[in-house]
């Protein structure tokens, strides 16, 4: 059985706001019946102020899906729609005192139902853009679809590459066989053969060649500029990023706000790394600052 927090159990055994709101003027329906989780969120929104007066849920799903739905309705009641749009899946998970990695998608479903309901109220069409695959890396909650996309996008060739770009496989290492299987599959689709001893992926050589070497100060400034340009997008999702240190070709960053502990953080970091490499024309590794602490400790010891 899953190790659910007391908060999850509380919301599962005594769900709040169960059922449809009677005279709702906003409805969001998301989920996947094949995966076994689906949710209808109904809201009553005051037209003048756009305040959510009432929220109700109907959920087909497991314990954490029902708990996530219940806690979501509690969070958003009394918020304006704009405030509600800032609620992240991490907020939902935090309110539940955490969810097992296999169950984080329940909190994502809650957030998406909310977005769908608000879009419905505003007469917009809501479209989901993320696809979920089988969970591969349990340490960092990275699924197969994400790994496949990164392998395609970044021409990854080895398990080490995948770990560098997605974090998958960087913990207990039990999923390395599964990651190799993904590499074999994607490389076969590209007409290549998986070679476990292939050299790690470097930045595209042609960009690197045309850039003159920078001083360390220039590099740090440049890295900061790139991060600055990415911040608005992160803040839109309730997150943020700050540069902590640059050592060699490794940039240590703090993922804050909703990014902190989010299962998508690894993806975000990989995205930042990609952008940095494009702009800088050199191989830059982006690593959470928490990793730096470990490094320092090792050196001190």
């Amino acid at each position: 059985m899953w190790d659910y927090s007391d908060k999850v159990k509380e919301h599962f055994f005594n769900p709040k706001n169960a059922g449809a709101v009677v005279d709702a003027n906003a409805t969001g329906e998301v989920g996947s019946i094949s995966c076994g989780d689906a949710l209808r969120l109904t809201l009553k929104v005051e037209d003048e102020s756009e305040v959510i007066l009432e929220a109700g849920f109907q959920t087909f799903g497991c314990g954490s899906a029902i708990a996530s739905s219940s806690v979501l309705t509690e969070i958003i009641k009394g918020m304006t729609l704009d405030e509600a749009l800032k609620v992240t899946n991490q907020d939902i998970a935090d309110q539940l005192e955490g969810l097992p990695p296999e169950k984080m998608h329940c909190s994502v479903m809650g957030r998406e139902a909310l977005q769908a309901a608000i879009a419905n109220y505003r007469g917009e069409e809501w479209k989901d853009d993320h696809e979920e695959g089988a969970l591969i890396c349990k340490c960092f909650a990275i699924d197969a679809v994400m790994i496949e996309e990164m392998v395609w996008a970044n021409k990854l060739r080895t398990v080490e590459d995948v770990t560098n770009f997605t974090k998958a496989g960087g913990g207990c290492a039990a999923c390395h066989e599964d990651i190799e299987a993904i590499l074999e599959k994607v490389l076969a689709e590209k007409g290549e053969k998986f070679d476990p001893t292939a050299a790690p992926v470097e930045a595209p050589a042609k960009i690197a060649a045309v850039k003159a070497p920078m001083t360390n100060l220039q590099r740090i400034k440049r890295i900061e500029e790139v991060l600055e340009s990415l911040r608005p997008a992160l803040m839109a999702d309730g997150g943020d990023v700050e540069l902590v240190e640059v050592i060699g070709n490794t940039a240590y960053v703090n993922m804050t706000g909703a990014c902190n502990g989010c299962q998508m953080a690894a993806m975000t970091i990989a995205g930042i790394q990609q952008r940095l490499m494009e702009v800088m024309g050199e191989f830059i590794k982006v690593v959470p600052a928490s990793e730096m602490a470990k490094l320092v400790n090792i050196e001190v010891a």
């Binding site: 059985m1 159990k9 599962f12 055994f13 769900p15 169960a18 059922g19 329906e29 998301v30 989920g31 996947s32 019946i33 094949s34 995966c35 076994g36 989780d37 689906a38 949710l39 209808r40 849920f57 109907q58 959920t59 087909f60 799903g61 497991c62 314990g63 954490s64 899906a65 029902i66 097992p100 296999e102 169950k103 994502v108 479903m109 998406e112 769908a116 809501w126 479209k127 989901d128 993320h130 979920e132 695959g133 089988a134 969970l135």
Partner: protein, 402 residues
Amino acid sequence: MTDIYLDNNATTKVDPAVVDVMIPYFLEQYGNPSSIHKFADGVARGLKQARQQVQALIGCEHDSEIIFTSCGTESNSTAILSAIKAQPNKKEIITTVVEHPAILTLCDYLEKEGYTIHRLPVDKAGRLNLESYKKLLSDQVAIVSVMWANNETGTIFPVAEMAEMANAAGVMFHTDAVQAVGKIPMMLQDTKIDMLSLSGHKLHAPKGIGVLYLRRGTRYRPLLRGGHQERGRRAGTENSASIVGLGKACELALEYIEYENTKVKAMRDRLEQGITEQIGHCFVTGDMYNRLPNTTDIAFEYIEGESILMLLNKVGIAASSGSACTSGSLEPSHVMRAMDIPYTAAHGTIRFSFSRYNTMAEVEKVIEAMPGIVATLRKLSPYWEGDGPVANPEQAFAPTYS
């Protein structure tokens, strides 16, 4: 209320009589069975007796046909890998879509290595089509591996008949019988089954002990090499305490086999009847007329299994489910999908599996608890309104994929 355990197809309680016979092998007769001293002089006798007790339960001709292993999965892997190693020119394997992962995952792996895997489909009641099976049998097939009884629905496959057909075509036949042994009578010496896997913890012996039955004369290649144990067919120091425990458990299973098929079956039938009579929109899955006596798998439509289990657990009732969420996968049980059970029902399947330790009083308590649990969850379901499902459920609630 004391807790009610109805998850005996997952694992069972070790019979106290089994524990009793095991203890001396931890504290007194703990010597290595290969040693020549008094700490070991009784062990060989204990192992021999256990071999005969297993032999009696499965009805094989010789006790030397029993190979002790560490679990059902090891027995399954040994059987299939042995068959392909012994017959390197044969590159096909026949199995079914509803096997346990111990077989299916191994077959998936062998498929990558270049083997052709024929996975026999099942119909809506979980039954095989023997005509299509017959067509697949050829001299290219290294082994047929078909479970005796399905772990989720309890559906029994005609393995004796299928073994005859394989034998006539010169093909080896293995059956994963971990759910069947001890629940239905068997007499292997009257069949053409070449190999059979069983697992101790499914029949009130401890976890970590299994058996591969290997018909005398069947070509064989060991999985583990390294010692003379099990006549060189499975190296590794004997798990003497567990082997002796398994022997006792087999003796007891044989004693109780009639009880299993009368009293235990009556409890299962009463539970099934009590639940399906009281609760609408639920149905029994699998082949109702050809099942293990201890198993029922009921699909509760429009609600999800893990939620049901959590509410059952709260009132002290243990069962299991075929929903995706209980395993953390993205699909409900492959057995439910193979029978074409719709998603809205497949995720709501609950398996109740009995043992001789259950009582009719427990059954009545479960019958009392279930309607409230199902109603609670249906009240939360987007497919449910008032006393019944919404009209055209699939259209009424069609969420955006997320």
